[in-house]
Symmetry: C2
Subunit: 301 residues, 2 copies
C-alpha cells in the first residue's frame, strides 16, 4: 500500500459477444496478474461485443491489455463479424482513464506508448483518439469509426486517415483499433414525474452540450413505460468540469417551467468517488475539504 | 487486490507526546510491515499524548499494535507522566474500527482476541469498552478512565472494576489499557453567520443526543473569533445511523428561527467515503445505488 502508486483504468471493447470460449480467451489475460484487477466484463449478443473493465498499475495493465488484444486478433475475424454496434476492429477501442496519481497528460503518454508497442507487435494500424488524438477530427471516436470495418480498407488510404501507428493498411482480419486517454464517463439519469416524453427531450436539449448546454454533458429523453415517467438520460464526459450536482440542479430548474418535479436519479455502472464527494461538498457547503481526508482514498491501490 | 480482503483501522492513543525518540519507537512498528499502513500520527505536547492512525489486515495490524504497545510499556512510566488529557495507561486506549469486509461483530471479536493476547504478553490489565464492553457501564471510556492513572490502583480492586483481561492490579509503570471496537468518528462542524455564541449552543443542544437530539451526535457551540462567526462543533459517532446530511439539515432548520444562516461546514481529519456518498445519494435522490459502483471502493485494499 503506497500513496504514490499510479493507477489507471482501461475499458477495452472487443468484437466478440457471443462465443463464450473466445470471450474467455480475451478476458483471461486480466486474471491472476499482480498489479492488475479485472473489475467487470459484459457481453451483448445483439451487439456481438465484449466490454472489459480493468484497473491496475500502468505497466502491468498495458501488458494485460496487449495480451488480450493478441487473443482477440487470434480468435476474431472481422470479415465474418456481424453485430448492431458500430465497430471497425477485433479490438475496437481501447480507452485509458486516469484513476489515481496519474495526470491526464501522463495517461495520454501511456496510451501513445501502448499504441506504438501494440501496432508493432501485431502489425496493427492504430488511431489515437480523445485526449490522445493527433488532430481535432480524430478526437471523436465516431468520426474515426465512420464507415466501420467494411469501408476501413478504403478509408485509411486517404491521407487524412493515415493511422497514427502501424501499417498504412488495415489488418486483414482484425481491422483497425482506436487507442486513447479519456476522463471517466458517468452515466447519470434523472427521473421526472410526467409521462410526457417531449418534456424530457426539451430538458435534455437544454442541458446537453450539443444544443447549448453544459460542456461535458450528453443527453436524451427516454420514456420509462413501466413506471409511467420519463427520464433525462445522460453521459457525463468530464465530471471534474461539468459537475453532477450542477447538472441535477439545472434539470430541476428547467423542470419547474413545466410544473414537473424531479423524483429521483440513478447512476448506471461505475462512478469515481470524487464525482459523489464533489456533490456532498456542494450541498454541505464544505470548506477546505481534501480527497486526502477520505479514508478509502488513502488506502486504495 | 482482492474484493474480500478484510481491512480494519486502529487509532491507538499513547501517553507520550513530547520526546521524539520515544514517539518514534512507538510509531515504528507501523512502518514497513506488509498488510499495514500508517496513515497518520499526531502528538500534542500539552496533552503529552500520541495518536496513531493505521489501517491494515486484521492479523498484521494486531501484530503491529501489539509491538507498539510493547514499545510504549518499555519507554513510558506513568508514575512520571504529566499532561492535560485524561489518561490511565502508557497505551491508554486502543479502538478498532471496521473499514471493509469486516462487520462490527467481527471487529468486536478481533478486539477481544487482541486484548487477551496483549494482556498475557505484557501482564497488562485491559478493559473492553464501546461495542466490546462486557457491561453497559464500561461502554463509555470516560467511565472506565475516571480517576485516571493516579487512582486506578485502588479503583480496579473494586469488584465492578475488575479488568476483563490480565492481572487484577495495575501494571506498575504502564497502568491499564482500554481496548474495543467502535464505528469511525466523523468530526463535522457547521458554521453560522452570527457572532452570538448562545445561538450555536442552543442549536447544539437541540441536535445532540445528550439533550434530546440525534442518537449518534455529540455537539457544542464554539466561537470562531477571527471569522466573527460561531460554529456547531460535532462528533458523529455512527454516521451510518445518524447521517451527516440529516444533521446538517436539522441545524439549518433550527437556525431559521434565529434568522441565522448556515454559511459553511467542515470535516476535520479522516472521513469514510460512505459518509459523503450517503450525503450525495440524499441530495441527488439517487435510487438503487450500491457502494460496489464506486470505482475506488472496488479497488482499495
Amino acid at each position: 500500500m503506497s500513496d504514490m502508486k499510479k493507477i489507471l483504468e482501461c475499458v477495452p471493447n472487443f468484437s466478440e459477444g457471443r462465443k463464450s470460449e473466445k470471450i474467455e480467451e480475451i478476458v483471461n489475460p486480466f486474471r491472476g496478474k499482480p498489479g492488475v484487477r479485472l473489475l467487470d466484463y459484459q457481453t451483448d449478443k445483439d451487439h456481438n461485443r465484449l466490454v472489459v473493465t480493468a484497473v491496475g498499475e500502468p505497466e502491468a495493465l498495458k501488458r494485460a491489455v496487449t495480451e488480450a488484444i493478441g487473443a482477440a486478433i487470434e480468435c476474431i475475424d472481422m470479415r465474418q463479424h456481424k453485430g448492431q454496434h458500430p465497430r471497425m476492429g477485433a479490438a475496437d477501442v481501447v480507452p485509458f482513464i486516469p484513476v489515481k496519481n496519474v495526470t491526464m497528460t501522463e495517461a495520454v503518454e501511456i496510451s501513445k506508448d501502448f499504441a506504438r508497442q501494440v501496432s508493432e507487435k501485431y502489425n496493427l494500424p492504430i488511431f489515437l483518439y480523445e485526449r490522445s488524438a493527433s488532430a481535432p477530427e480524430r478526437e471523436n471516436l465516431s468520426n474515426i469509426r465512420k464507415g466501420q470495418f467494411e469501408e476501413m480498407a478504403e478509408k485509411i488510404k486517404r491521407p487524412e486517415w493515415k493511422p497514427d501507428f502501424g501499417p498504412w493498411e488495415i489488418h486483414p482480419s482484425a481491422g483497425v483499433t482506436a487507442v486513447g486517454a479519456r476522463m471517466p464517463l458517468v452515466a447519470f439519469n434523472v427521473n421526472l414525474d410526467t409521462d410526457d416524453l417531449t418534456i424530457a427531450n426539451e430538458i435534455a436539449k437544454k442541458v446537453r452540450y450539443s444544443s447549448g448546454g453544459l460542456r461535458y454533458c450528453k443527453g436524451i429523453g427516454i420514456g420509462l413505460k413501466e413506471k409511467r415517467i420519463v427520464q433525462v438520460s445522460m453521459n457525463m464526459t468530464d465530471f471534474t468540469k461539468t459537475a453532477i450536482y450542477r447538472t441535477f440542479e439545472l434539470i430541476r430548474t428547467e423542470a419547474k417551467r413545466y410544473g414537473v418535479n424531479v423524483v429521483g436519479s440513478e447512476i448506471i455502472g461505475l462512478v469515481p468517488m470524487a464525482a459523489l464527494i464533489d456533490t456532498a461538498e456542494y450541498y454541505l457547503r464544505l470548506e477546505n475539504f481534501s480527497m486526502e481526508q477520505v479514508l478509502e482514498y488513502r488506502i486504495m491501490e
